[in-house]
């Protein structure tokens, strides 16, 4: 038989060099990507600042070193002693921006994790069971999505009362339907894939197919969305604080509230809006840069 000679002669397909799995390949691409590196550096900076706030901040954010000198029309701007100037109560603005990073990152991370967890539960329910479970869950998600995000966050935060926890829950709730819909869509498409059919033909149990094949292969866009959610959560937290729905203790520095309380002094002390505003923008930018590049790195369509 001529075919057996062919087999003996050519085992031409050698094992190729290992190139790692999808996540490792994505990581390698991100490490070479200047935009992603910029994002990492920005975020790393904020994390360091937040963690080491007591060491870095030149003053206690609650102290009022300029209490005797300021008036509503005379709020000193940046100087050698106070790099970012003083705020309307005579507190050191730089120290307050530094301590504010703690609040913003905390709210962002916790709100994102809560939102992702909630969205994943709904998404897995809809994506794994399909049929009427899917219909019911997705109609609930549609209803949640039909309410403007900020409006819903305001309503929830208002009902739950003024606390950091209620801000986190409110922002998480806004993100739950987004994660749910994203994960459900991914799982639906993965369920149609050949390797799921192969697992079924092997007699693998349904629960095991969902948990060990469908779900892990559906997570890439969810991770990207989580990164982007961190950015929007920080902005939303600032917006809620700005509207007076932030944490209960006004002495705790928070970027959003700092912005809100400077409204009346915009003409005389524009620096009070500038610094917390910049901080919010740069932190959100950092997460957005990472998220966008992560999306491309994980998407096989962009692979070179």
């Amino acid at each position: 038989m001529s075919l057996s000679q062919v087999e003996a002669a050519t085992e031409s397909d050698q094992v190729e060099q290992p190139v790692g799995n999808l996540r490792q390949a994505a990581w390698r691409r991100l490490r070479r990507d200047p935009v992603a590196i910029t994002g990492f550096v920005l975020i790393a900076m904020f994390i360091v600042v937040a963690v080491l706030a007591p060491l870095i901040a030149p003053y206690d954010p609650r102290d009022t070193p300029g209490a005797g000198t300021i008036t509503p029309t005379n709020i000193p701007g940046p100087s050698a002693e106070h790099w970012f100037g003083l705020d309307e109560q005579g507190r050191d603005e730089l120290s307050r921006v530094i301590y504010g990073a703690r609040q913003s990152l905390l709210v962002g991370v916790v709100a994102m994790l809560l939102g992702m967890a909630g969205g994943m539960v709904l998404g897995v329910l809809a994506g794994a069971f399909g049929r009427w479970v899917d219909s019911v869950v997705m109609r609930i998600v549609d209803i949640m999505l039909s309410i403007p995000g900020l409006l819903m966050a305001i309503a929830i935060a208002a009902v739950l009362g003024r606390s950091l926890t209620s801000v986190m829950i409110a922002i998480a709730a806004v993100n739950v339907p987004i994660f749910a819909r994203l994960l459900r869509g991914q799982m639906m498409s993965q369920r149609e894939s050949d390797y799921v059919l192969a697992a079924r033909s092997l007699g693998v149990r349904r629960r095991s197919i969902v948990l060990s094949h469908v779900l892990p292969n559906s997570m890439s866009p969810v991770i990207v969305q989580a990164t982007l959610t961190l950015a929007t959560a920080i902005i939303e937290a600032a917006a809620l604080s700005f509207l007076g729905l932030g944490g209960a203790d006004p002495a705790v520095p928070e970027w959003g509230r700092m912005l809100a309380s400077t409204q009346r002094y915009l003409a005389s002390a524009p620096h009070l809006a500038l610094f917390p505003g910049l901080a919010i923008m740069v932190a959100a930018l950092g997460f957005t840069l990472i998220g966008e590049r992560l999306r491309e790195a994980l998407d096989p369509k962009y692979r070179r």
Binding site: V6, V15, N21, S193, D194, A198, S201, G203, N217
Partner: protein
């Protein structure tokens, strides 16, 4: 391997396909009147069924134990759906599938899951049919875990890799680290991990390089001799099927049109559709290739949602007659022992009493001018 010793097992070098002893009456898989109709639904709030895509519409097929049955046909004829319906990966809407005496359509989900141990599948695209996040070891132990099979799984993985001709080091690697042929070997190792009786191979080599195809076909044959496997091989490549199959069935638009032992079918195809298929196979001899007649089919495969009346093939058949073809669906008739054809005029066509329409035939030498 720990499978039951087959007749070929005693022979260290299985030399040919023809020496296997197959009892045509010992049927492992028997399919009767199998139908798979996919509903077409319309409507916004209340969906109602407005029609059905008749992907498989009344197919009878018997696969004797230890044999290889090939199923050929062009894309869209329903052969893949047929293979999946046999394994109930797609639910049949009619007919029966009897495997080793068990009516598969009577089984509930858990019984069917257990039954799958006996019947496995090899897929067309080895990359798509392997989870990109699963190492080969995990791929091969998954069926063992699913069926609660104990023992030394690592040793079993090494054994399986050895049987399909992969190094033991492959166990810790991931699908994308292999070439196409090696991936298909992993897919085959997965299919034999449970020591099944039946393997449905859906286009097992069509995604592979031609140089690799022969190796994989050979591997399938070696495994059959060694493990006593029964194959249902679905393919569009007539040369592959001819090589591997004992019996070949030809499918057109959801139904079988002809079935015969492999050599017989290739030597004397009786159905006009089979003749057209055969004439499309290139012959590696320029003189023969230049002088032989080719039958070109005109038009596309009709929609399986609205199949033609009468003989499904009459819209494209070069031998179409005024009577019967349009309104009477031909049944499979046994014209010679083991050779069945679904054509009203098979005898007349074979005897040359009916000539094909001129437009459908490419005369020799015309194309080379």
């Amino acid at each position: 391997m720990t499978a039951q010793p087959s007749a070929a097992g005693a022979d260290p070098v299985p030399t040919g396909r023809d020496q296997r002893e197959i009892d045509p009456d010992d049927v492992l898989l028997s399919v009767r009147g199998l139908q798979v109709h996919f509903p077409i639904r319309r409507g916004i709030l209340v969906e109602r069924q407005v029609g059905a895509v008749k992907a498989v519409d009344g197919v009878d097929l018997a696969v004797p134990r230890g044999s290889t049955v090939g199923l050929v046909g062009e894309s869209g004829c329903g052969k893949t759906t047929f293979g999946r319906a046999v394994l109930r990966l797609v639910e049949p809407t009619g007919g029966t599938v009897t495997f080793d005496g068990t009516d598969l359509r009577e089984l509930d989900a858990e019984q069917m899951r257990r039954q799958r141990r006996q019947m496995q599948m090899v897929f067309q695209d080895p990359m798509a049919s392997l989870d990109p996040r699963q190492s080969v070891e995990s791929v091969l132990t998954e069926p063992l875990r699913a069926h609660d099979i104990g023992g030394d799984h690592r040793a079993r993985v090494r054994e399986l890799l050895d049987v399909v001709g992969l190094p033991a080091s492959a166990a810790s690697r991931y699908p994308h680290e292999f070439s196409g042929g090696q991936r298909q070997r992993v897919g085959i190792a997965r299919a034999i991990a449970l020591e099944p009786q039946l393997i449905v191979a859906d286009e097992p080599v069509s995604a592979l390089d031609v140089s690799i195809q022969a190796q994989v076909v050979n591997l399938l044959e070696q495994l059959q001799d060694r493990l006593g496997l029964t194959y249902l091989v679905i393919a569009h490549d007539l040369a592959v099927v001819r090589h591997i199959a004992d019996v070949v069935a030809v499918m057109y638009l959801g139904g079988l049109v002809e079935q015969a032992p492999s050599d017989e079918l290739y030597a004397t195809p009786l159905h006009p559709y089979t003749r057209a298929l055969m004439s499309a196979v290139p012959i590696p001899d320029p003189d023969v290739e230049e002088s032989r007649e080719r039958i070109l089919l005109t038009g596309d495969l009709p929609s399986p949602a609205a199949p033609p009346s009468g003989c499904r093939f009459h819209t494209r058949c070069p031998f179409r007659q005024e009577t019967r073809c349009d309104d009477e669906r031909p049944a499979l008739r046994e014209i010679r022992p083991g050779h069945t054809v679904a054509c009203h005029w098979a005898e007349d066509i074979e005897a040359g009493r009916i000539a094909p329409r001129e437009s459908a035939v490419v005369e020799p030498d015309v194309s080379t001018a």
